[in-house]
Symmetry: C2
Subunit: 490 residues, 2 copies
């Protein structure tokens, strides 16, 4: 196993690509824009899914499944939605192939669909068309449904996990009797995402609202969580939309209120995707490979034995069996790497590359003294500990690692939010250290657009906990009441 | 909530459709052939997924994800596979829509794909094209991968769960160094499916092999489990295929053996789908609604309170809190139906319709005597029991119900396997009681085809535990060495 990953300093983007490939996370497929998520990468995604799914259920949501295909006409029903989504997408036009008589397989022109079907880029339209049949009275509300699914948005330039034509995600779609309740749901799910990002992914995030320009097509308000990557670029890690009555009106979904009146239903939608894999990788990993927070690591502890004789091996195995059993009780996943076709050094490098949080080396000689070596992946520190109480020590260390990874990312994020008060300073920081730039903005789409065109920086969000302060727009000098967060972003 | 389901005797097919709809399991969507799986139906599917996924992992498999789209040319690479799958399928020909200038959204003809993409009907081709990059030497084998995914096979006549254009499934795809190992895997996964069908779904199945005619396109051998529905029709509940080296040859997947030779890899694939939902419903349910085996019921116990005063209610709630807490410890899912907008009778009917295995009625008056009522969904029996030790009684009863449902289905299956020795008898049984018919067959595809054309019965399988016996083909009178199982099937 040759590591030889390009360093982050040398070429961050190349480092990322090589890491995704060499750590066996994902690869490009034969279909342009579509990725193959390999078993090790998928195991991380499954851990993300399990944690998120539990949070959704704990907040009262159920899963359901809606069609992969959406009739083309559905996209024209919500005016702004069509602008945003009915463009770069996969269009199904036929439903049969045939042999052309010479052994070639061709599209059967007799099997042309009357109306083209679009592979879902997001499911608001088909879901609201369905909800019309589910909702009659206020007793049918709220509807709190989530879907785990694949979606497709055609992309010309793709990057594994970060931007792919097909990706996996979850999309929550809820229906409410009042605007207040829908807004509360939108905010609740943003909190769920932030909690997951910080306490599972160990990635600190800024909670905020998008500007009108950056809103989801069809939303009255888009909330988001924004994370910072090690190269100083931001990454939108999740969004939660208050959709008002737009989709209810587009699909004629009304309910009879307690007062007996016919009213349109209020909607939210919220989602995170396999993009989170990209965020997880870029936030923590280093030049030696992946760094995974214990809560999302498919293998939390790896044990590498070092021995010469069968007798030595037997002594090691005895301890391993005991540790594995104790860890299982504590829901800690341990892998005993007893492959005899590889040397310990090779194994060390492999598990380091794959980001296993804790490595235990059990050497026959140390074991005679009752000692084993623990090596942390996150800070590369090692300690020699007694084999007594090993599983307790493992449990404590894993928790420490989880927190340490978060603290490190938080420090980096804190160090990389820069307040600027002029456009020159803004451009200087952007070209130099990067990161989030907190600056005054006059609130207009024109200014936002010009800054984006001139610097490639976008307004990531208006932080929810923003304090109001008087200031002047860095571009126009016009009055402003609060700072917003700019950054170049993935 | 009006029940009024057509009875099975009246119209079995109508009964099924109404049940799926009224029990809130699924519905047809606006896209022909595609279903919406509603939250209650999806919750059952999630329980199936969880049980199966655990079995897959316990037998050493990992999950991964492969692209939704398959290039058209891939289907031509394996000769028999193209016949079977590259026909009725969804074809993506374009990747962009545009506004035609008059506000209509039309397909952008400038965005025509060079090669059409097929929405996967099954993934052997794209997966084996991927495995080529994963396999170099015997050390890379076996590959034991499963995928949970949606697939599309265009269907003109659809039925919810049983036959839909889009459905959800899992597909395992494994790669091995030897034929023996691949065959052992094929058989192992058939056993996994049979174990799941019998011990979770409570549906007895016959394990067997398909005839050449009924084999999966591209397989050397197709193993299957066959279940019997209450109307006497069979349902194929899962298949496991030994693919030989067909896909390895088609996609040039070789490995260097221990002896240093280049050899083609051996393959298996195996799958079950949301069709299992149809089997589950049809195997056990009755004219009053669903009957769900406890192991797959989203709600295992429902508690309905009957009271008049707040004081009475408080006493009931006290007991409920205790029972719910005790059941949670035992991983038993309890719902306390305390809606005060519905009468108890309405609730009884609703939970009966939805197949909740056990209902507990807590009436304030009985409670004064320390008693509550337990009502089983499967056999409609009721018992009055002491509130002491209630959760223990619940646990025992749920296990009894699980077994009783299986035993009932097994008795029905046993009663409906009929041995026949002539074609007249064959047709008589088929038109009369239906079920599986065990008969001699001369082993030719011609005979199989003629019987199918004349009677609509197919050979469901050659049972694995078949005893050899001399006999004569019911159609041709030619010699036969064993009986096979015929039936009309879903
Ligand atoms: Zn902690
Ligand atoms: Zn039992």
């Amino acid at each position: 196993m040759s590591k030889g990953i390009t360093s982050r300093k040398e070429d961050y983007s190349q480092w990322y690509n090589e890491l995704v490939s060499k750590a066996d996370l994902a690869e490009h497929s034969a279909v342009r824009g579509c990725m193959v998520i390999k078993p090790y990468g998928y195991a991380i995604w499954e851990k993300m899914q399990a944690a998120l799914d539990k949070k959704f259920k704990d907040t009262g949501h159920s899963n359901a499944y809606f069609p992969l295909f959406i009739p083309k006409s559905f996209f024209t029903k919500e005016a702004s939605h069509v602008e945003g989504f009915a463009k770069e997408c996969a269009v199904v036009t036929h439903y049969r192939l045939k042999d052309d008589g010479t052994g070639n397989i061709v599209v059967d022109e007799d099997a042309k669909l009357e109306e083209e079907l679009i592979v879902r880029p997001t499911s608001e339209t088909i879901i609201w068309n369905t909800y019309r049949g589910w909702i009659e009275s206020y007793r049918d509300l709220p509807i709190l449904v989530n879907q785990w699914a694949n979606v497709v948005r055609w992309e010309m330039r793709t990057r594994l996990f970060l931007r792919t034509a097909e990706f996996l995600w979850q999309e929550g779609h809820t229906a409410h009797a009042t605007a207040e309740e829908a807004i509360a749901e939108t905010e609740q799910m943003l909190d769920v995402y932030a909690d997951f990002a910080e306490n599972w992914m160990a990635v600190p995030v800024v909670k905020g609202k998008k500007t009108e320009t950056e809103r989801f097509a069809g939303a009255l308000d888009t909330y988001c969580i924004e994370a910072l990557m090690q190269d100083g670029k931001a990454l939108q890690a999740g969004t939660s939309h208050f959709l008002g009555q737009n989709f209810a009106k587009a699909f004629d979904v009304k309910f009879t209120s307690k007062e007996g009146k016919q009213e349109y239903v209020w909607a939210t939608s919220w989602g995170v995707s396999t993009r989170l894999m990209g965020a997880l990788i870029m936030a923590h990993s280093d030049d030696a490979g992946l760094v995974l927070p214990p809560k999302l690591a498919p293998i939390q502890v790896v044990i590498v034995p070092i021995y010469k004789t069968d007798e030595e091996r037997a002594e090691i195995v005895e301890l391993v069996d005991q540790v594995v059993a104790e860890c299982k009780q504590k829901d800690i996943t341990v892998k005993f790497d007893d492959r005899d076709s590889y040397r310990p050094g090779f194994k060390f490098a492999e598990w380091e590359l794959k980001g296993v949080p804790l490595r235990i080396t059990i050497g026959a000689r140390d074991l005679k003294n009752g000692l084993v070596e623990l090596a942390r992946r996150d800070n590369q520190s090692k300690e020699s500990v007694s084999k007594e109480g090993l599983s307790q020590r493992i449990e404590i260390l894993l928790d420490e690692i989880q927190h340490a990874i978060y603290e490190k990312a938080l420090k980096f994020r804190t160090d990389n939010i820069t307040l600027v008060n002029s456009y020159d300073e803004f451009k200087e920081v952007l070209e130099g250290k990067g990161g989030f730039i907190s600056a005054h903005w006059d609130g207009t789409a024109e200014t936002e657009k010009r800054i984006k065109e001139e610097t490639k920086a976008t307004i990531r969000c208006i932080p929810l906990d923003n304090k109001l302060e008087e200031g002047q727009c860095i571009l126009t000098g016009k009055p402003s009441t609060q700072r917003v967060l700019f950054a170049r972003a993935y």
